[in-house]
Symmetry: C2
Subunit: 300 residues, 2 copies
């Protein structure tokens, strides 16, 4: 990876001309604080779509000044969402960010044909992690969007993640398809999916990456653990992307790393023509800023 | 918990009279090294059932001396397993440990009616973790045995874990039933199970514990994250036991904590009349020793 740390991503994002970010229903203190921080870091220039009175009140509270023309006053939440999405559809902004609106409502607008923002495949959540227990940045998908991805949906999750890693400078990322064990077990669907997906990759049906699975998490990220199990190959112990079996395991992995692992992370929604930033109230400040920085790098 | 750390468990296990541990098919270097360490720590006194020639060779290699009558020479693997299980059934040993035999073969013998070792319910895997990111020891179940537990099986997993926490001095443990989100979502089975199990606890159908769910992992172990989501109750941010939705997520949580979280752990199989220790080749030395120490505390 041309980026060894999230700090590298932040640095690069801060050293190029700010890009426009469109915020859907921007009257959210948490979101505006992240926007303030990213603006001050020279990463973005915001377009705040929402109830301008409420937005201005929060801006004043958090001591953040924007030009009046950076606020588009639309009090109706659905109309504000549509406008914010229209801005990215018309290339007036390069990144879309969720404000005080449900993820469902925002993505519904993104998927609306009239905006032509959807790429083939599906939308998915990708988190980029930095952990002191691993030798490089790595991705985790899908912790938040796709509940029980089918086989072909998992292929889309891989393709989405690979496209991001390509943009981050990893030309042929190594993808570990995770399971609870490293052997195929008919009773464990995750291992069946993993075996099939690995074969599809060997047959050239999944390109620009090296896929191996099933791999238990330890085999995927620890050479030593892989050797204990006599697992060879390029992915074991050196994975760039971890594909979780489903949202239960993806979400637990994401939260375990963030809350019980001391890891740092950035996350985006991939699969639309522009990166989408959905920060959660429980994400820390740093993680929100990192996500916006990542979105900028991806959008370029 | 009367134990604040795994070190406390180790200390207590070392300060009482060694208990007998029966090792099924003991000719396994890895296992014998753990046995050596636990014996030297005054925790156990081993009975090694297996091919005595092979066992003696390894003992000599690792410089570990045992009395000749501590080795029961049975070269046939299945017969050795049966003998090792018989020893615990006849109370000649208090702990059972897996050697060079598959988990399946060992548990088949444990479940054999003739030994009467099975308690009502089912066998399950429980790991006890110590993490610098959490204020107390906590349990994770089930990372290794039950693939896709049904509702009633999850109740057994809770009962098994609660019985262990009781023995560790936590009289009314707090159980978080994990899901990818903290709200009930019909499309996410884990959240449905969690909601039902919580209600069963409120109605007294699951006793000696306080159950809450669905809780995402962050809500379960971080008061701050729980407050962000406006989740109150005694479990949020203060869980003793984390019940994972299934083996995919349980295994990933277990391995994430151990391999990407710097946590320490001990693990046992619960649900039989004696604790069963199954260490994995990829567990580190400390973790194997801790598991044996935990088994001793539980067996008392």
């Amino acid at each position: 990876m041309s980026f060894n740390s999230l700090q590298d991503i932040l640095k690069k994002a801060s050293n190029t001309i700010p890009v426009k970010i469109s915020i859907a229903v921007a009257e959210d203190k948490n979101v505006l604080e992240a926007i303030k921080s990213a603006t001050n870091s020279n990463i973005i220039s915001p377009i705040l779509v929402g109830d301008s009175e409420k937005i201005k009140k929060i801006l004043s509270d958090i001591k953040f000044k924007v030009n009046d023309n950076a606020i588009i006053n639309i009090c109706d939440s659905q109309l504000a969402v549509e406008k914010s999405v229209e801005l990215v559809a018309e290339r007036k902004a390069s990144i879309l960010m969720k404000g005080l609106v449900s993820t469902g409502e925002l993505l519904k607008a993104v998927l609306n044909d009239k905006f032509d923002l959807k790429k083939p495949g599906l939308l998915s959540h990708l988190a980029i992690f930095e952990s002191s227990y691993y030798h490089k940045l790595f991705g985790v998908t899908d912790a938040a969007m796709n509940i029980a991805p089918t086989l072909s949906e998992k292929v889309h999750l891989i393709n989405n993640s690979v496209s991001i890693f390509n943009k981050l400078g990893v030309s042929v990322p190594k993808v570990a398809v995770l399971g609870p064990v490293e052997t195929v077990n008919e009773k464990m669907g995750a291992t069946i999916h993993a075996a099939i997906i690995s074969s599809m990759n060997r047959r050239g049906q999944i390109k620009n990456c090296i896929v191996d699975g099933p791999l238990a998490l330890d085999n995927a990220i620890s050479k030593e653990a892989a050797e204990h199990k006599k697992i060879s190959g390029e992915v074991a112990g050196n994975a760039d992307i971890l594909l979780a079996p489903d949202i239960n395991s993806g979400n637990i992995l994401y939260k375990s790393l963030n809350f019980l692992g001391g890891a740092k992370s950035a996350a985006i929604i991939v699969g639309a023509k522009v990166p989408i930033v959905l920060t959660s109230r429980s994400d820390d400040e740093k993680s929100k800023l990192m996500s916006i920085a990542l979105a900028k790098i991806i959008s370029e």
